[in-house]
Amino acid sequence: MKRQSMVILLNENYHVCTGCALLCDDIEVITDGKKITEVKTACRKGVSRMKGCNEPMSPTVDGQQVDIDVAISAAANILKNSKSPLIFGLGNSTDGAQKKAIELAKQVGAVLDDTSSFCQGPTLEAIFNDRIKSCTLDDVRNKADVIVYWGADPSNSHPRHLSKFSYFPRGQERQRGWEEDRTMITIDIRKSHTAKISGDKFYQIPLQMDAEFIDALIDALSGKVPKVSFEFDPKRILELANILKKAKFGTIFVGLGLVYSLADMEPVVRLMDKLNEVSNFHLIPMVGHYNMRGFNQNLFNETGYLNRVKFEKGNSTDVQHGAEFSIVESLNNKTVDAALIIGTDPLSSLPRSVAEHLLDIPVITIDPCETFTSRKAKVTIPSALSGVECGGSAVRMDGEEVKFEPIIDVKDQTIRPSDEEILARIMEAL
């Protein structure tokens, strides 16, 4: 009993890491009041997020340092004068900030999109529309006996994925440890760090051959002889199908490698249908930014679409949705004449030819740190590092809501306002 109370006491000191969409909630930190000096249990990626940026951003207009209020009214001015502004990002913002951004998009009649339109959007869309069965990460820890990473390398993208939820931890129905109780499979085009841990359960397939491999696997699951056009021992596909068939609780983690190689999600939906005919399978997208799924969920709740929307000016409920409202198409077609970029860096993440239009239009960035995009922006507004300097809530990759408090004392006057506050002040200034 005594021990128990100690554990609970410890839990109260735990913080949430916003380094990725795993939102690990068992992090202890030591601070000197202003900065985090020591971090326990978080991975290196999480530690570097929590320790803050190397190059914090300053409030600027046209490259000149200004008071933050001046930057905010300059931002409002740009949005006011724009016929068709783009609001983009928000994967590294709290739910509160995302909801504010949706309001702002309605007020100014903006195109609103996030990185999901060129990454996990299709997977999430299939889950939101109940086309694919999903489960929580806690279910995985407690029950999963077969875990598949497909086109994903969590050892680099979500370092604690295997240790906290999928392969190594003991769970209610997985008491005997990973060697006996779980099988971990990796399907990828290269032997990643994660693939290495899978040992002989690593299936290496050629680039862009995922759809073909899925169909061969469906054949094998249906008792047919699997055939693929590339060199691959059909016996190994049958062996894989057998493991999947025997699973009591299987989960496939879908990474960008798989999403990028498919034209649409249909092959995955087919595979999941087949798997649930002969076995019991769930799917979870390997969402990157800590609250990308939150953005998709919040927009979906509001409009029925998870990304790529355009609102009519003046708070009307009219909303259009379509591929033409993705950041990529909006920039390619030059249909937007100003951009508000929040917590992301499109100039470095998008191909140069696409991002180029951003250099021709007024750009506002809201971010704690300097980025490629912020260096080219007309207006920069520094914001609090969420999860460290401001609290809120976010949606984990499996759809679970996680609440968090700021780690650093927010009463400290030098702390920058949160994304949510900045957006609210822009709306006021409008």
Binding site: T41, C43, R44
Partner: protein, 164 residues
């Protein structure tokens, strides 16, 4: 094997003495230990680092600081069980922490279920994004009943843990 165990102990003591000789020997307690000898032992077990002794950084002890840093590096590299952590390769994924059978046995509701360790007895834990060792004498590869455990080796994606 008992002899080997004793030998390890003897070696440890000798090293602690060597370290002690280079410390300020004032027992000022600034490092949080009650004596410089206790600090020397903590240095060996890697519980503390040379930097935890502020007086060592004063100018007159600079040479000793340097010598100690050199001395501790090998001890930091290979702990008494022969374990070496290549810190540059480790990215703090925690696989080894959760897979280590000693960690699981000592901390079934913390490290054992993938969460932050809640017991002082664990061998492996992650601090500042890198795995740290303590209680290495509990490692199953160490001591008189040793077995060839490789839990932390095969679960590491980057071969950051090695035994010599």
């Amino acid at each position: 094997m008992g002899a080997a165990h004793n030998y390890e102990k003897v070696r440890t003591m000798a090293n602690a003495m060597e370290i002690y000789k280079l410390l300020p020997k004032t027992n000022c307690k600034e490092c949080g230990k009650s004596t410089c000898m206790a600090f020397a032992v903590s240095l060996l077990s890697r519980e503390l680092t040379v930097d935890d002794c502020p007086p060592l950084k004063e100018d007159k002890l600079k040479a000793n600081y340097g010598k100690l840093s050199d001395l501790i590096t090998p001890a930091q590299g290979a702990s008494e069980s022969g374990m070496i952590v290549h810190e540059d390769k480790c990215f703090g994924c925690g696989n080894c922490v959760v897979a280590c059978p000693v960690n699981v046995a000592d901390d079934p509701h913390g490290a054992g279920i993938g969460r932050a360790p809640t017991s002082d007895k664990v061998i492996l834990r992650v601090k500042d994004g890198i795995v740290r060792t303590s209680n290495v004498q509990e490692c199953r590869r160490f001591g008189k009943d040793k077995i060839l455990c490789n839990g932390c080796i095969v679960t590491c994606p980057t071969e950051a843990i090695e035994f010599v």
